[in-house]
Amino acid sequence: MDFQHITIKLFAERADFELHELVPVFHRYIQRNALPGVMMIDVADYAHVPEGPGVMLIAHEGHFSFDVGAIRGDSAEPGVVYANKRKATGETVDRITRSLSFAVQLASLLENEPELADRVKFSTSRMLIRFDDFLLAGNDKESFEAVEADVVRALYATTGSKSLSLSPINNPKTGLTVEATIDGAPPLADLVARITDAAVA
């Protein structure tokens, strides 16, 4: 299936900062071209919206954000999000990996951001994957079974884990949403390295 709008969310284990602090941080990422291969456009501040997209970094390829509930499972939790919006190529596994790669890159930048100095940390053992291609898939059992193998392959390949579980988040109104729990997931820095090495290879 030709999924384009694949969203990945990495949950924050720690987020001891105010959302508005991210505004100058994201502007600096644009100045420094901190996300290689990404055409960053602007920063959108939605901090005023409860359980919303938080602060977003709008790029041509898709939307990055520190999200506080717009992308959610059964409940709103903060985390870094990458939502793909433009044409993605390759197999579904490649597209999932690509979205994950972008989310991981932003998470890594934030964890290493001097302005946030140890006030943010992301889990790599739990993440949300959402497919907002409503023509191709509803949020139902059949669609979940159709993507399950690709999600598992992508996560095994990137994390190196040997064991993970996928739980569909059953809201018939949203895009197909899956929560992944990954045993033995590497720390974020290692995950970044693994994904980068795989891309080079």
Binding site: A44, D45, G52, I58, A70, L135, K173
Partner: protein, 752 residues
């Protein structure tokens, strides 16, 4: 499973809306192939609600330097200085603000897939989606069409969304429910041929009463206030009718056209106004092209005379009455019977919420509940949950408001506590609707190319501060309105606010510093009863303190129950300015850099990111549109030829010539009918016999292509073939080229 939305929704889209989207998709292809002029395409997409956003010229100042945004568009544009791949905005008209739960669910879907998971309610009851790519717009429009929504004429030089009091039909003070009238006029004018040749947009509003006047009719091009008149013992519904209002940089109060206009004259008079505007309105100088300038120039008496003359010659249209056939039967159906509030225990926060957000309807035991949305924004999750809540509590009865909120109508009183709890659980139970904390703001520099200062950033800051001290605010202050615009164009409607602000800038020590002009004493009530006074420009970062200064001053020095408007009028502009002077100081850049950075931003402030606004649309003449449509028809003929549908190819090629010919005839006779016999006859008389269509070398040769095909009719027994279809297509293309040349020659002629 279908492989396209077009296929999937084929049975769910009204045929006319489906066709519109197909046409637009073809126009996109013609633009990609450089076969459609960028200016025409820009106006075409604007008239489908597809708007540009900041930085779509491919440049952005990142706080250090101006940078090129390397969109992969390869030079392709979607309008003058507007890069094809730059994200844009989709404006979605919601006529009279009427929104159903099904529509809300669909809006949430498309916002997740194509946008940033936020639905934004505008100051004209529209819904906007931001950061939408133009390639996604046809499918987006198809999905909207499947729930009965069209984005047609949401932008551009057209009749924009027709707005209406959000409590029309449930208001305790209304004369009658204006909802069905606003709906009828909205759909009657949509795509109407007489509304396609404006130099600027036309805005229409309805109000059920003159007093509260939530419809703000005084600031609209066409405004209607419900009135009833007794004629021969019978009560007739009608409207106090206004024309020529508008905000913009210089606001104009609308002028009274009729003290009472019977409802059945609503359509023809609106058309007459539109035709006068199309004919006499300014089209070269965009800054003077609104209807308000024409009314001001002519004076209301002369304008009225012209309207009445136009009304007399209007060809009759049964639609004037047929659209109004069911107005008396219009009614909304509550989901539940109205039952009084019983002794249910009220949770914390309920009383404060109910005091401001629950409006007792004229119908016993029913309440209209306002959802005060922060800066008009609602997440897709909230929207989905709200759709289900609405179904349970009030059926289909949701409306958007010009204060960028939503209202749920027909809530049974007995359900209020439970409803409050459900709304609170999804973050939609903020109290303070319509009060000082409920601040209206245009998008400003967040996304608008014309934005000078961050209206949303300021509004968010004011909202936070005022909400924090709300409990301690004097009652006289709590009900003041604050409205913020990012520039002088007043999309935030700052002129009708008690405290209005519009963005500008000042040069301080070689730096550009964001400021807001302070506009005091505007009146929301009485349909936007009066406009505020511009007092002076204050640096953006001092505005929250300025609000505190002004409100404290008002509380301390008002006389008795003096309104804020009366207070400002009494103290006068000079005194008000003197009061604000201390706030106008800007510390040096070394002393306090924060003044040189706007709200919700981190970059050193610049006005370099402003671009060419699209609110003024592109002035494209009616003949340009007609010839563009003719070209599109020929394009479709070619597609049919490729598909070996030769009869369809010939039919479309012939139709293309008729469209072009009729376009030329319309320049002389606006109401020329569409039938082929009349079009050809009139074209022959006006353009061939007069030799207007002749060019220097080919003379009238190309006109004969049309005549020959018309004379042939369906009487020819020969079946269409690939050759006959190809020949006719080529002839049609030559005819259209000749029509273009004819138009160009005519434009160069001296005006008699």
């Amino acid at each position: 499973m279908s492989d396209s939305w077009k296929q999937r929704l084929i049975d769910e889209m009204p045929a006319d809306l489906a066709r519109e989207v197909d046409v637009f998709e073809q126009q996109m292809q013609l633009r990609r192939d450089s076969k459609l002029d960028e200016k025409i395409f820009a106006e075409t997409r604007l008239r489908r609600g597809i708007y540009g956003q900041r930085y779509d010229n491919g440049q952005r100042h990142d706080g250090v330097a101006e940078r090129v945004l390397p969109f992969p568009s390869d030079g392709l544009t979607k309008g003058p200085e507007t890069v094809w791949d730059a994200p844009g905005m989709m404006r979605i008209k919601i006529p009279f603000g009427g929104l159903t739960p099904d529509q809300l669910d669909l809006l949430a879907e498309v916002a997740d897939e194509y946008s940033d998971s936020i639905l934004h309610i505008t100051t004209r009851q529209d819904v906007q989606l931001h950061y939408v790519h133009i390639e996604d717009t046809p499918d987006l429009m198809r999905r909207l069409a499947s729930v009965g929504i069209t984005t047609r004429e949401a932008c551009g030089n057209s009749v924009r969304n027709v707005t209406c009091c959000p409590i029309a039909g449930v208001c305790r003070e209304e004369t009658f429910d204006v909802t069905p009238y606003s709906k009828a006029l909205a759909y009657f004018l949509l795509g109407h041929p007489d509304c396609q040749d404006f130099g600027r947009k036309v805005k229409v509003a309805f109000s059920g009463c003159a007093g509260n006047g939530c419809g703000l009719t005084t600031m609209h091009d066409l405004g209607y206030i419900a009135r009833v008149k007794e004629v021969d013992g019978e009560k007739i519904n009608g409207f106090e009718t206004y024309v020529g209002g508008g905000l913009g940089p210089v606001p104009h109060m609308a002028k009274l056209l009729y003290e009472f206009m019977p409802a059945d004259e609503m359509m023809p008079v609106a058309l007459a106004v539109c035709r006068v505007f199309a004919r006499l309105g300014e089209k070269q100088n965009r800054n003077r092209a609104r209807l308000k300038f024409l009314v001001a120039k002519l004076g209301i008496d002369e304008f009225k005379k012209l309207v009445e003359e136009e009304r007399k010659i209007l060809p009759h249209d049964d639609a004037w009455i047929s659209w109004l056939t069911d107005v008396d039967q219009y009614k909304e159906t509550p989901a539940k019977d109205g039952v009084p509030l019983n002794g249910t225990a009220k949770p914390d926060g309920y009383d404060a919420w109910a005091a401001t957000n629950a409006y007792q309807q004229s119908q016993e035991n029913y309440v209209t509940v306002t959802l005060a949305l922060p800066l008009g924004d609602i997440t897709t999750h909230q929207a989905r949950e709200l759709a289900d809540i609405t179904r349970r509590y009030c059926g289909d009865n949701l409306r958007t408001t010009v204060e960028q909120n939503l209202v749920m109508r027909w809530v049974s009183e007995a359900d209020l506590v439970d409803l409050y709890k459900e709304l609170e659980a999804i973050g939609l139970a903020e109290p303070g609707a319509g009060t000082i904390v409920d601040i209206t703001s245009c998008p400003g520099t967040d996304t608008c190319k014309l934005g000078i200062a961050s209206s949303r950033g300021l509004a968010a800051e004011l909202r936070t501060r005022l909400a924090a001290k709300n409990a301690s605010l004097d009652d006289a202050v709590k009900n003041l309105h604050i409205k913020v615009s990012g520039c002088f164009n007043s999309c935030g409607q700052h002129h009708v606010a008690d405290l209005g602000f519009y963005g500008n800038s000042r040069n301080i020590g070689g730096f550009t510093v964001p400021h807001f002009q302070v506009v005091l004493g505007g009146k929301w009530e009485d349909n936007g009863g009066s406009y505020g006074l511009a007092i002076g420009a204050v640096p953006s970062k001092r505005i929250p303190d300025t609000v505190e200064l002004i409100t404290d001053w008002y509380v301390a020095e008002r006389q008795g129950a003096e309104s804020f408007q009366d207070f400002i009028k009494r103290v006068g502009k000079k005194t008000a300015r003197a009061k604000l002077e201390p706030m106008m100081a800007v510390p040096s850049h070394d002393e306090d850099r924060s003044f040189y950075v706007d709200w919700s931003d981190a970059r050193e402030f610049t006005i370099g990111d402003m671009g060419i606004g699209e609110c003024a649309g592109e002035v494209v003449s009616q003949i340009d549109f007609d010839l563009s449509n003719a070209e599109r028809e020929v394009f479709e003929a070619q597609l049919a030829l490729d598909d070996t549908h030769y009869d369809q190819a010939e039919s479309k090629a012939y139709n293309a010539m008729l469209i072009a010919a009729r376009g030329l005839v319309k320049k002389q006779w606006q109401d020329v009918p569409e039938d082929a016999d009349t079009v050809v006859k009139e074209f022959r008389a006006r353009y061939y016999d007069t030799e207007l269509f002749f060019d220097k070398y080919a003379k009238g040769k190309f006109a004969h292509y049309l005549f020959a095909r018309h004379d042939q009719g369906d009487a020819n027994g020969t079946a269409p073939s690939v050759d006959s279809a190809r020949v006719l297509i080529e002839e049609a293309q030559l005819f259209i080229e000749a029509a273009h040349a004819c138009d160009t020659r005519m434009a160069a002629l001296p005006v008699s």
